[in-house]
Structure formats: C-alpha cells, structure tokens
Amino acid sequence: MNQFQYSRPTKQQAAIDAVAKDPNAAFIAGGTNLVDLMKRGVTSPQKLVDINRLPLGKIESQNNGLRIGALALNSAVAEDRQVREKQPLLALALNAGASPQLRNMATVGGNMLQRTRCAYFYDTTMPCNKRQPGTGCGALEGVNRMHAIFGFSDKCIAVHPSDMSVALVALDAVVQVSGPKGNRSIPFADFHRLPGDTPEKDTNLTPGELITAVDVPDGPFTKHVHYQKVRERASYAFALLSVAAALDIDGSNIIKAARLAMGGVAHKPWRLTTAEQMLVGKPATEETFRQAADVAMQGAKSFKYNAYKLKLGPNAIVQALKTAAAA
C-alpha cells in the first residue's frame, strides 16, 4: 500500500479544509471500502483525514423525521429502537448488508460513499473507465453477470452495492452535507449519479464536501415493508438484485401509498416511481403486484451474462410486495 499523511481533526471545518484544498486527500471513517481499495492499489490517496473524532454519530428525532448522523455505525442504526419503530425498512436493508463485523465498522456516510464498482474496477490489470478514465470498459464485452440493466452508458455498467441506500432512496431520505462553501441538502435520489461520460464520479458531492447526516422523514411505512435480497449464498454476499418495498394499505386492502426501489441493477440505487404510482388506489393483490413489476422493468436491457436479471427482477418485485403486504 502507498504511504500517506494522516490527520485526525476534532473540528469539522478543519477536516473539510484539509480535503478541499488537496485533490489527493480523502476522508476516512470506517475504512471498510477505502482500506480495501488502497490495499489493492485501486486508489491511493496521499493524505487521509480521519473524521472519527467529529461528533456526527447521533441518531435523533426531529422535524417529523429521524436525523441519522453520518458516523452512526450500520449496526447501531439497524439496532436503534426509533429506527426499528419508524423506519423498519431501513433496519431490514442494513441487516441484509455485509457481515456483523463490517456493520460494526461501516458508517452511514461511508456506506453511501462506497464505490460503485465491479470486478474490472478492482482488477488493476484490466481497463476500467471508472478507475482510469479513457481506458475503456472491461465489463461491456466481458463477464458482466453482476452488472446493470438500467441507466448504464457505454463507459460503465457497474452497479452500486449498498443495500442501505436502496431503502433510503425509497424512503425519500435527504443527505445533509457541509463543504467549503457552506451547508446544503441533497435529496437521496440526486446524491448518486449515473455513469454517463464521467463514470469516475459516483456522487454529486464536490471536493471537500462532508456528509454530516441523513434525514429520513416520518411516513406511514411502519408495518408493510420488506427488503428482498437475492444472492448466491444465504448471507454475506452482494445482491444479484434486491428490492425495497413499502406499502400503506387501508382496511379494505387498498394501497394508499407505495415505495419501491431496486439495488444491483444500476450505477445508483434505482427508485421505481412509475410503478409506485401505478400501485396507489389498487387492491394489494398478486395481480396488482405483477402489473407493477412489469411497469418497473420497462426499459431494462441486459448484456451477455446478466439476462437472468430481466426475469429475476419482476419476480423479486412481486415477492417483495407480497411479503410486505403480509407483514
């Protein structure tokens, strides 16, 4: 691994300044993705700014929602009583991700900022436009079994691996960031990017901007929720594909509100708003769910080795909605 300078500021502004003024500097929190990437030589920051001494780990109720500090650990959020009561979908998604050890290290901000990636990004002997812009995409004509079916470009077809982010985009979360030019709020759906011509950029953060918290607004999705993750072993594997489903169903089994998002299908967590709108006002039946799944999959396109996702996707959506309705 490359050598690097290390600092551990106790003031937020000092941390922001240190990264803003140096293009080769990076924040480090849990380190579960960054250390991994550094060991493999995929990324090699010259300066690490350890933000673990900043007071950003609280989970608190405020303004009709929960404010989850950027440094709150994935395990702490998943086990938090308020989160489990108000946003059970988020707890389910968190517990579907990584391993208990990694969830004890990974933070909420870091989970969002883990790289959108694939095996070609990790293999430094292969071309990758994300790792080294302009070198081409190894996955496009390569082994693309894990890759995107929505929103990709000919520059990059990798997917974002976060489970937590699939729940957060479905729940209309808002990302609070602080940077050299002050604070701003970013709707979760606008936080991550599609690859386009600049696959090296995973998010819309500007240099030096630091995630301070994620706000999750209160909603009616406290009961009928499910996170369906399909993977190649029972646990501790990336999703081939995942579905976050949340329903509000009235006494006559009519859907009053719906949220639906997928993971493992695009460069960013993939919200399915058209399918959500289609669900509202309809009875919560398998027939309705199948119609929504068909709508959700419109525009999906596969590559040589991931055509199975075109069939797995709608089935996983139906399964997630059925399980959510029965919860």
């Binding site: 300078q5 600092s7 380190g31 579960t32 395990s75 208990p100 050890q101 990694l102 004890n104």
Partner: protein, 208 residues
C-alpha cells in the same frame, strides 16, 4: 516490517534502531526533527507525515501499551507483526473471511480493514485475551467439546465472533446464529459443529 528480527519487542531499542535505519534515506531527510520527538507530539490538530511513526495508545488484552506505528499499519499487522499476538489470523486480508476478527471496545470487527492509528485510546481484545489464565473461556471449551474446527486457522476469528454473537443477543436460534456468524468463513466446513458450540454456550447461560 517483514524483515524485522523475530525477537524484537515493542520496547526493544535495537528494534527501534533497526526501524530507523531501514527507513529510506531520502525519506529520512524530509522528517521534521527527530522521529522520536515527533512521535510524542499531539496528533489531533496536525498532520502526521507519511513516513513518520505515529504515537498510539492502546489497551490490548488488559495491558496498556504506548506504541508508535506507521499510519498505513493495519490493526491486524500491528497485533501480529509488532505485538507478536499471532493468534489473530490473516486470511484474505480484505474483510471477506473473518479470520482476523477481534473486539474493539467490546465490538467485533475485522482488524485487517482498519488502520491501527484509528483506534487510539481503544481497548482491543484478541483470542489471547479471552481465557482467564489457564482456564479456557466457555466458548473455547465449547469449540473443543463440539469439534468446532478441523485445521483451526479460522478458529480464533470464529471464537471471537461467536462470543460477540452471544453477547449481542443474536444466538437465539440456529438460523439466527448462522446469519450472525456469516462473516466468518470455514473452508473445512465445521459449521454445524460451530453452531452446536454456540448453542451450547447460549443454553449454558454462562456469562461470556
């Protein structure tokens, strides 16, 4: 680090001298002031140079230690290479196998995926710190009783994870144990016996 003398200890003068001498000459020229005095300075509001030995206070298995490490030293490498606590194993070195599992302030983590310097002031427990003198920890006894291993390489990580699994309250059923032990891979396939060992400890109700 790989070339250090085997008998070196963290407080051994010859080792410190060796480390200094082994530093690149060009890098030495860039160090502001003597390495040792830099190591004693407060780190909170300044930047440690890349080739500098950074001060680090840890409590490891109940023992307070004042150390100095290069920033890129992982917690795992510190434990194994510098403190010679070789019970904690390096399996994949990428957070995928769990062989390096230790407790930091009571929480199980992959020691391979974090830099030692990030744990300043923390309390680390490794497999060596689990037993009470010659008396094995109940989880260690249960692994022996149930044959919870074959080659044994993953075992320290399995046991550290298993203790945490019970403490966290995630050992309620076989399914829950399997889910919450999923971060520890055993290529010999001793899983069923590992689950039996954890269930035994859980049922025994002993304090772990």
């Amino acid at each position: 680090m790989n070339t250090e003398p085997e008998n070196a200890s963290p407080h051994d003068d010859s080792r410190r001298t060796f480390l200094k001498q082994s530093t690149l000459l060009t890098a030495m020229a860039l160090v502001p002031g003597p390495v040792v005095s830099a190591a004693e300075a407060k780190l909170d509001e300044r930047v440690a140079e890349a080739i500098e030995q950074v001060p680090l206070s840890l409590k490891v298995n109940g023992k307070k230690l004042k150390l100095s490490v290069e920033p890129r030293t992982t917690l795992l490498d510190l434990l194994r290479e510098q403190l010679h606590l070789n019970g904690t194993k390096k399996g994949c070195d990428y957070g995928q196998c769990g062989a390096c599992t230790v407790h930091v302030d009571g929480q199980r983590v992959n020691s391979c995926l974090s830099f030692a310097v990030m744990h300043d002031g923390k309390e680390i427990t490794t497999i060596e710190g689990l037993a009470d003198g010659d008396k094995l920890h109940p989880m260690q006894e249960a692994f022996v009783k149930h044959d919870g291993f074959q080659c044994g390489y993953c075992t320290p990580g399995q046991i550290m994870s298993a203790v945490a699994c019970v403490r966290e309250g995630h050992a309620g059923s076989e399914g829950e144990i399997r889910e919450y032990m999923s971060g520890n891979i055993c290529r010999c396939g001793a899983y069923s016996n590992i689950v039996a060992a954890i269930q035994d400890v859980k049922k025994g109700g002993q304090k772990v």
